[in-house]
Symmetry: C2
Subunit: 234 residues, 2 copies
DNA sequence: ACAAAAGTGTTCTATGTACACCCATGG
DNA sequence: CCATGGGTGTACATAGAACACTTTTGT
């Protein structure tokens, strides 16, 4: 995209710094985690911060976020959704800057450990999140609310698990997100009633001697159901 | 807020035009309406458009929206919530410009008719919305989805009605929003079960000889219930 | 043989849904 | 006195919640 032409009718309008900050969720060994890093610019250089970037002239906001996520994790095609805009005039002591927060769900085993370390990033369990710069802790709280809201109405939890997962794994994810203990029988019954999971022949024996069957989420089937107005509630 | 200082670490960063567009809902005589106006700047001057403005350096995004709403309707303290960011690089042919869309719910009898006319604004029934500039028709579709979603989970419908309203009025609002016919008995039963409406001694006789009792929404009670985690579903 | 997690069914309760009649009043 | 919209109650169906035992297998 070009800069403003001299004859643009918008020429007199105030331009503003626009950033995007990513709340990156991961799920590891029953614990919900977030990716944060040491900020590399002043002010507040060296403090913990969400990963983010300024939005460039020639990219959309989601594109900017995807660029950041690729840089920090080496991952593409990950679940990403807008959270909300943070635009208080005083929110950033460096300059007037609007941030569009977005949350991402990643399969925590897939990320590129080198990339993460290279950028000074680190995974924290939800309860161990340190004090972050600016309004980033608020963003996290808001993202968590949204994640809780969203996972009960849309089947996005799968984005945090490997492609092949077991039902107890999925349950433990929901328990971690919602900080509750769920009834195994009811959880399984409800979940399978949607008929959106494909049972595989393999078992995961890493957590028990008996082993738990692995499943895959049927994205194709879900897409169709969604179009015809499914009401998924967990 | 000051402009960037020369020594600001952000000085080299790209600044962008940021606008906000408001999807303004009103409810009149059983019909859901939207406020649009004739755009007054090139390009596309004279075309129908959502009301909106560029965001200034010294105001937050909601502040900008409130400024616009006050200008166009003479109203303050109206329900306003962020919809989402529209940031496609090519979305505005005038210049690269990000828009943060917000939807507002107004009591349609309260607005200042002079202000509205003065600004070339006009109410359209939902089904009569003309072609609007840029991506504004998409914004409306998204806002409508959100309104449908939101009204089933939060008691915000009241924002579209006078402070004193009847239950049949409220029902007709829900029917207009969701484009369905609801059962009167079940609607009333469910609604009153929340115990959030205060029945007044007055009746509204404008729509029937018998007259329907007027109610007020108990905002105070709702606030308390919300904090303790109510689940309002209509 | 036993510990440890996976897997399975039934009963009870609550909530939603369908449905039809009387009420009050102004004209 | 009647037409019009306001207001009420009950029976049925469906979905959610509570709850305990058997299965598998590695050690």
């Amino acid at each position: 995209m070009t800069a403003l032409e001299n004859n643009s009718p918008y020429i007199a309008q105030p331009k503003i710094l626009v950033a995007t900050d990513c709340i990156v969720f991961g799920f590891d060994e029953g614990i919900l985690k977030l990716l944060v890093f040491r900020r590399r610019i002043d002010p507040l250089k060296g403090e913990w911060s969400l990963i983010g970037s300024f939005v460039n002239e020639e990219e959309s906001v989601p594109d900017a976020a995807r660029r950041v996520l690729l840089q920090f994790t080496g991952l593409e095609n990950i679940f990403l959704e807008e959270l909300r805009v943070y635009s208080d005039v005083e929110r950033d002591s460096g300059a007037r800057c609007i941030s569009i927060a977005q949350y991402a769900l990643i399969r925590i085993n897939d990320y590129d450990r080198e990339q993460v370390e290279l950028h000074g990033a680190k995974w924290f369990a939800l309860e161990d999140i340190p004090q972050l710069v600016l309004d980033h802790n608020v963003m996290i709280a808001d993202a968590l609310d949204r994640l809780r809201q969203k996972t009960t109405h849309k089947p996005i939890g799968f984005e945090l698990l490997p492609e092949k997962f077991t039902i107890p794994q999925l349950q433990s994810l929901y328990e971690a997100i919602h900080q509750t203990k769920l009834d195994d029988r009811n959880f399984r019954k409800k979940l399978l009633s949607f008929d959106l999971l494909i049972k595989l022949d393999e078992k995961d024996k890493s957590t028990s001697k008996k082993g738990a069957f692995l499943y895959r989420f049927d994205y194709g089937k879900y897409k169709k159901l969604e179009e015809s107005g499914i009401n998924f509630v967990l």
